[in-house]
């Protein structure tokens, strides 16, 4: 027991080393939160373009661009994308690393969100669309008031899953020298040479974050399900 306390003190208390974890935690939260928002924005936009194209045959050029985006984002590792965005695209400009990470993870997540949302749109019965149009609502109104709310409800579990993946994926941020939660733990490990404490602490924090996120998604899901019975 004394050993445990000593280890804990060494890794977190001495010289305020917990601050590495705290800084990493804040960065991880910022990156995850904004990357999710970017991912949702891009994902919904791409999904709407893609499914509108499939339904109406319009927007051929936009659909083509979306497909290239999806192919590239889903076809290359996230880490490579992060490195390319930092070392190639933003190589000559001096911008905060957190911003780079938000761009990289947001762009990456957007591709997955897009396909999730598109599957949601396709899962809504065609009759819902026809009923909206037959009342005189236009395409946009029908999508906005009838199709998208149902699609969103249908894909919420899959979206929650994607956000969990995204949150954990940010642990590669250390590769561009950014102190995220994982990297913060690693810094402590490098100083104290003890593996157990920093790694377990970092793992527990991720676990808590993901559990909290799942809880929120579940709650939202239950709330949206009122119309089922």
């Amino acid at each position: 027991m004394q050993n445990f306390i000593d280890e804990f003190t060494l890794n977190f208390i001495e010289k305020n080393r917990y601050q590495y974890i705290a800084e990493g935690f804040i960065n991880t939260m910022i990156i995850s939160l904004f990357a999710v928002l970017v991912g949702i924005a891009i994902g919904f936009l791409v999904a709407i373009i893609r499914s509108s194209h499939d339904k109406t045959g319009h927007m051929k050029a936009a659909n083509f661009i979306c497909r290239i985006y999806l192919t590239v984002m889903r076809g290359t590792p996230t880490m490579i994308q992060l490195l390319i965005i930092y070392y190639v695209i933003f190589a000559t400009v001096n911008i905060p690393k957190v911003f780079v990470a938000v761009v990289a993870f947001g762009l990456n997540s957007g591709a997955y969100v897009a396909e999730i949302v598109r599957s949601g749109i396709m899962s809504v019965d065609e009759g819902q669309f026809e009923a909206g149009r037959s009342l005189g609502l236009n395409y946009r109104q029908t999508m906005q008031f009838i199709i998208m709310p149902q699609a969103f409800k249908n894909v919420l579990p899959a979206l929650g899953n994607e956000f969990i993946v995204l949150l954990k994926e940010t642990s590669i941020s250390g590769y561009i020298g950014l102190t995220d939660l994982t990297h913060g733990g690693d810094i402590i490990r490098g100083i104290t040479f003890s593996a157990f404490m920093p790694l377990i602490a970092v793992a527990l924090i991720y676990l808590l974050l993901v559990t909290g996120l799942s809880w929120c998604v579940n709650k939202l899901e239950r709330r949206l399900r009122v119309n089922e019975r």
């Binding site: 019965d125 819902q128 009923a131 909206g132 149009r133 037959s134 009342l135 005189g136």
Partner: protein, 245 residues
Amino acid sequence: MSGNVLLEVKDLKKDFGDHAVLRGISTRICQGEVVAIIGPSGCGKSTFLRSLNLLEAPTGGSVIFEGNEITAPGTDVNKIRQKIGMVFQQFNLFANLTIEDNITLAPVKLGLMDKEQAQKRAKELLGRVGLPDKADAYPAMLSGGQKQRIAIARSLAMNPDVMLFDEPTSALDPEMVGEVLELMKELAADGMTMVVVTHEMGFAREVATRVMFIDEGVICEENTPREFFEHPGNQRLQEFLSKVL
């Protein structure tokens, strides 16, 4: 035929690829008429009905509604559809909305009524279809017959000039068919112009002012119900009637 011509269909054609579903349909539907369309499955009767509000885009011919050729390019189809109600076999109530919102959505979003007026109208309509206490329910909580009555109320909220019914009772349990047919009968009695694709021969005989038999994409016979059922001229119609009656 009497009264003003509301819908005129000229040589309407529709094919899906190589498969010709409608091979030239021409007819006129006048104000106050109740036209029942019958025919074997796959004959094109639903496609014909769906062409009248352009849910299916015809590949040939024209549809003229209240003097405007709605099949002409550049027609504001959304505007036209506001005046043409449609009731579906599968009801298609908006699953994400309460019954009241189902009824008020289109009139409010299209700027025809403000929220308050629309809610008042919804209340009236719910009373009329016999479901005054369902305003706050969701579609999933209702029986098939109730859903279809709400779907009719939703159409009526737009004050349509004509209503299209696409096999409105085909997806219902037998004991619920009556309540929907009864409501449709009342609509007809109130003078609503109706075009009804149906398998309910009793309804066609009693309520319709004209019955139309479509087979293989053409109108084989149309007549008053009495003549239609008692003296069918067309041989395919005779065969069809012998099977269903």
